[in-house]
Amino acid sequence: MRKVLLLGLALLFVGASAFAQSRVVTGTVISADDRLPVPGASVTVKGSTIGVATDLDGRYSLSVPEGNNVLVFSFIGLRSQEQAIGNRSVINVTLESDITSLNEVVITGYGTTVKRELTGAIASVKGEAFENMPVQSFDRALQGRAAGVQVTATSGAPGGGINVRVRGVGSINAGNEPLYIIDGVQVASGGLGSQASNNLLNSINPNDIQSIEVLKDAATAAIYGAQAANGVVIITTKKGKAGKTQFNLTVQEGTVNRIRKIPVMSAEQLATIKIEAFENRFNRIGPSATNGTSLEDARQRAINVYGDPATVQNTDWQDAVYRTGRSRTVDFSANGGDDKTKFFLSTSYNLNEGQIIKSDFERGTVRLNLDHRANERLSFDVNMSLATTTQNGAIADGAFINSPFFAALFTLPNQPIFREDGEYNAPLPGTFGYNLVQSVEFETRRLVRNQTVSSMAANYKISDKLRWRSFIGIDYAFARDDNYRDARVPQFAPTGGSAFVAGRTLLNWNTNHTISYTDVFNDVHRLSVLGGTEFRVEENEEFSASGQGFPNGLFRSLQNAATPTAVNGFYTTWRLGSFFMNAKYDYNDKFLASATARYDGSSRFGANNRWGLFYSAAGAYRISSEDFLKDVTWLEDLKIRASYGVTGNSNIGNFASRALFGSGGDYVNLPGIRPSQLGNDDLTWERAETWNFGLDFALFGNRVYGSAEVYDRKNKDLLLNAALPNDSGFGSITTNIGKVQNQGIELELNTVNIDRGNFKWSTAFNISFQRNEILELDGRENIGNTLRVGFPVSIYWQAEYAGVNPADGRAMYRDTLNNITYNPQGRDLKYVGSPLPRGFGGLTNTFSYKGLSLEVFFQGQWGNENLNNTAFFTDAAGGAGWNQTVSQLGRWRQPGDITSIPKAYEGVEPGVTGSRANTFSTRQIEDASYIRLKQVTLGYNLPASLVSRMNLRAVRFFVQGINLLTFTAYTGFDPEILATDIGRYPQSKQLTGGLTVSF
């Protein structure tokens, strides 16, 4: 829009200066960034009002009056340049990108601003930062690139779920996910479908994204009122540029592998320790029906199950379910247009096979973004996207005995995959009875989702100062689950094979209408005001059906089922109505102030408290504009900011305020109803009160720039399920009680370390420190063990493990008096850690030399503990009937042994409940700090001379690696998880190579 305006203005100048010309200068303006022509750049004669705008091919022709000898070339986002004309009649100019420009456009709620005018805390990540990164959803690409934004995968499945936490965890029971807005459409996040960990945000091709802005403080987010307390993430997709149509094609191919293999015992090792466990039991309690008649008999009983260490064959079940997956991306885009109509068009295909057999993700997308100017006053913009994704899933994350990434650790290694007759060896003896290779192969878990996130807006210029905009956006998805359990798997045989099909529809739309006014008084007072209304509706509907009894494994669809077994339906909805207003004032680029108010009404809340007011105020002071700093040449910019505001969180159940009767189970085919919850007409928003202080700086000719933030956020009136005495028939009622505080410091620093000749080295660094504390609950000091006043919202409350008694090999714990106990009680538990990190950050170093570039990106977090719940089972000291980690071989064996692993004992030793893996303690709490080499990309651009001979604009080759190295003390699959680690699909290591051709 700006470009078009400039073009129009410039054309007027041409007409006015037509009579005074005396010589003509022509040339082309190109951008240093992409070597592309810059249409609409202004070319003016210095010291005059004479000027012209470049055309769609970046060309200009300007008549320069006699006596004037300098031309000024400028364009938004590029650094202005002056050129002495001398005797030249052709002047070609390459404009450098103004990378640290304070004039960089930043997207805000219902508008844009430039960075220098910001009064609040916004983290901005440009699309280039994650372009061609082989990730399925953009939220993953945010990881480590925005200060204060913690991104964790809930599952490593391709296309799987992601947790994004902006400035910590402020809510206990309401959601902590930020509000996502894609091109103005307030979209639903989370998953839709049950057959694979999935993510509604993966319908957007990350390569279509121009920028992601994270609104972190109240000053920036309060305009989204009741949805803003967890921060707001605004995704803006690419727009067309006027000019010759430009094409981009990227092809990328690669591999997907596991990051880590857990060292579990070989069949020989397991048999050895099991024999010892059986013998120890015999020695402890003597002969019995289960123990056998003699020590030799006890030994033989172990051998019967686990094999003879001397002869047993070994199967590596982890290797059996892992593979090298393939990944492939084809991405094509075109953009162009003229001064009336501009377009960006893209299509992409992405395939990512997981490192676990049969799990994969496949996506196709199409996008068309169109801007059209109907006349001087009226313009339209349209964004349309279509995506189809297909995921073949592994089982949901959790401790499932048929989960390949969980059960492979436990499956007995003396069991072969195939019997001698070539058939699957199934069922396997023992608890982990599934032959994983068979059950994964024969089970279908498929999720297909088709989705569109599209919008349209009309803009009307009432006057130069007053504009109207009407917007409507829709987020629609249909997801279909297919599950088929083949009767050839013995565990599924009793049903004769079963099938489950579900269809889930998400319809989510919002519309807003805004009016904005901007004015400048006396050249120094700049004022802009925005007001508007918004309405949002979300509806979710599901149906599902299942059946069992299939002729054989070839018939897998529901209509082949002999017996329909269940039909289900589900519907829910919520609505939000809003009114909002924002005012900004700027005095001479030195003092900035802004104020925001939003009035929100939500269907989720009680009749007495349906509407809420949210607001913020912010100010900034540009010290560098003061006269006394004018002479400090190395100081480009220095600005301090402060803001305060109140935002809301409304992420609770859609009908949480109502007294309801719902489904009450079935009995002998009759459906029941029962009171499902008590009503609360006073139920209302969680309020987040946020202070933010910020500092923006740019030094040494923008070679060093960045910002620092300090914040304090108190979430009050938490939507807590206040406990009711269970004897009332209800466990809780949702009420507004409780208070949580988040405080933190964030730093973003960008430097150009070396820029000499053709070599350039730049660094982007961000780091965040945060702390979290519950200030108040429902009047009590604790709710259960894990919610406690004075502690973070997520903690581990367990017994302290004190190692093994060297005399007899029993596991020891500390009691309340710090004495040794063998059977810790509830009172002996204490705070032993929190999964919330104390800090996290990212470091990107980019090196370039001529066409060669190398980007190295590290990401990490520290100060968080994880409950390695998988180790609770794998570290069983030889005592359980499944395979275990090799570390358990370091068990106590004889009096005097100093070790932390108890004696091998089959079953439970009399009087020692804590000896085996049935006591949670600090033994399973591990430091999960890590630093990860998240991404390395090596690229090479063919020289421009060569490329232009091929009639192309640019050719780039690249190779990249994801998750190549991890530094951590954590012993589980992956430290990059949230809290309890049990049966999580681990993340993968990827290596890809690709080629981008632009023409």
Binding site: S288, R301, V305, P427, P429, T431, P490, Q491, P494, T495, Y517, V529, T533, F535, Q548, T565, A566, T572, W574, R575, G577, F579, Y599, G601, S603, R610, F655, R658, A659, L660, F661, G662, S663, G665, D666, Y667, V668, N669, L670, P671, G672, I673, R674, P675, L678, G679, A723, P725, D727, S728, G729, F730, I733, N782, G881, G907, V908, P910, T913, N918
Partner: protein, 477 residues
């Protein structure tokens, strides 16, 4: 300009606010608001279903009230390699116990809605009576289970600890009604159980043994009397129940398989009250069903079984005589190298991983009456032994000398307790039988659990004790 602008904004705020309240109205579809739920008899019919559904869960009669009462006592243990289910129960780990508090009280609250509703205004007297009778029975059953899990039976208190559970007889409709209450004494709780059952008995006219019948109410009341050592009333009520049920005795004296097979028919011929399950929609599945827990997948019982964790103890097996038809219920299997006998009472007979659970059987009524009579002594002792021997006559071949003959009261009582184990194993009685008579639990290698031990009573949910200042935890927890 600005002024006009502000006026427009303020004006639209007002209009918007007024119009928008209507735009924000949403209605749930799979739930209805509480005001309309019970205004129609179909709502009440559906609400009583929820009461039965409460009993079906794995935390209740679907699994733990059955297997917990066996594993906490001396009837059942776990296999060497198992899924971590019932391991801690089998060793009476401190804190491992029944946990029916929340579920039973949720059911009680639902029954309170029915008991306090004016049913006669929305349906016929007959249906109103039947529904009220069922609700009274289900409430009494849940209070009885709460009382025997969380408190001592009257007269069996350890250190005089009489606290039982909280009594609520009114439904909770608003949060203010969910007030804090202290535990009532065991006498008070048993009194309302008796009162409810006595009121239910004449109201019930139905004959479906999957639902509550008058016979079921009489049978439960006789058990309730037995638990309180009210021998004469227990005897009378057992007699009354026997006369008011459609259940028939199974005779295994000719065909020894008859005892085992009786558990494969639905309802069990001896069931006075049986909890039924639909195999498709109500099954507890592989993870939680009685079938999965007591039989091994791939074991000798074709098409059923799962974890196969819970097996009879040697102690239980050792009391069976070879001639006893009930021994036929067990089947030998090898699980991960361990040869053991497994019970076939839950053999997946209704469907995959699905069995009905008989809650009160005719044979139990004979055992109740035998005990009640023997305890009264004198001439009643002979009558009691006759009840016992009647049951044994249906379990042993007539050629075998199955009769228990004694004039010693304690010997007769011991014989009845042995018979209860032989007859009712894996049906959820053993732990409570020991407890109501103040006996220690013999646990083989892991030692005995004295009757005075903390672990005889279940711990109240600690969160409830923390929440409710009037609620006392059980001693020792």
């Amino acid at each position: 300009m600005k002024k006009i602008f502000n006026i427009i904004l303020l004006g639209s705020l007002v209009l918007f606010n007024v119009g928008c309240d209507d735009a924000l109205v949403t209605e749930p579809r799979q739930s209805v608001s509480a005001e309309v739920a019970l205004t129609d008899i179909t709502g009440v019919r559906s609400l009583i279903i929820s009461g039965y559904d409460r009993l079906q869960g794995a935390g209740y009669y679907g699994q733990q009230m059955i297997l917990g009462a066996e594993t906490l006592a001396d009837n059942a243990t776990v296999t060497n390699a198992q899924s971590n289910r019932y391991l801690t129960w089998s060793i009476n780990n401190f804190g491992t116990h029944f946990g029916i508090w929340a579920n039973a009280y949720a059911g009680i609250n639902e029954m309170n809605f029915i008991i306090n509703a004016d049913l006669n205004s929305i349906t016929t007297t007959a249906e109103a009576n039947q529904l009220r009778g069922e609700a009274l029975f289900l409430r009494a059953l849940m209070y009885f289970d709460l009382a025997r899990v969380y408190g001592y039976e009257p007269g069996r208190e350890v250190n005089g600890f009489q606290e039982s559970v909280i009594i609520r007889e009114q439904p909770t409709s608003t949060s203010s009604q969910a007030d804090f209450r202290p535990r009532s004494s065991n006498q008070e709780v048993y009194a309302i159980i008796e009162r409810d059952l006595n009121e239910a008995i004449p109201l019930l006219t139905g004959t479906n043994r999957f639902r509550v019948t008058t016979g079921a109410a009489r049978a439960l009341l006789s058990r309730v009397y037995l638990y309180q050592s009210k021998w004469q009333q227990a005897e009378e009520m057992a007699t009354s129940a026997l006369a008011n049920t459609a259940a028939t005795m199974v005779d295994a004296s000719v065909n020894p398989a008859a005892y085992r097979l009786s558990f494969a028919s639905a309802p069990h011929p001896e069931s006075v009250f049986e909890l039924a399950y639909n195999a498709q929609t109500e099954t507890l599945g592989f993870n939680e069903s009685l079938n999965s827990l007591t039989l091994r997948q791939g074991g000798p019982v074709a098409g059923s079984g799962g974890w196969g964790d819970v097996i009879p103890t040697q102690d239980l097996l050792s009391i069976f005589l070879p001639e006893d038809s009930r021994i036929e219920n067990f089947i030998s299997d090898v699980k991960q190298g361990q040869t053991a006998l497994f019970s076939r009472k839950y053999a997946g007979t209704v469907g995959p991983f699905t069995d009905n659970v008989p809650l009160i059987r005719l044979s139990e009524l004979y055992l109740i009456r035998a005990e009640a009579r023997v305890r009264q002594g004198g001439a009643k002792l002979v009558e009691g032994l006759a009840d016992l021997n009647f049951l044994r006559s249906r379990r042993f071949p007539s050629t075998f000398a199955f009769q228990v003959v004694t004039t010693n009261q304690q010997e007769a009582i011991d014989a009845i307790f042995t018979e209860r184990r032989l007859e009712l194993f894996f049906e959820g009685h053993r732990f409570f039988d020991l407890k109501r008579t103040g006996q220690d639990i013999r646990k083989g290698a892991t030692g005995a659990v004295q009757f005075s031990d903390t672990r005889v009573l279940a711990p109240l949910p600690q969160a409830q004790v923390d929440l409710n200042p009037l609620l006392n935890q059980n001693p020792g927890y």
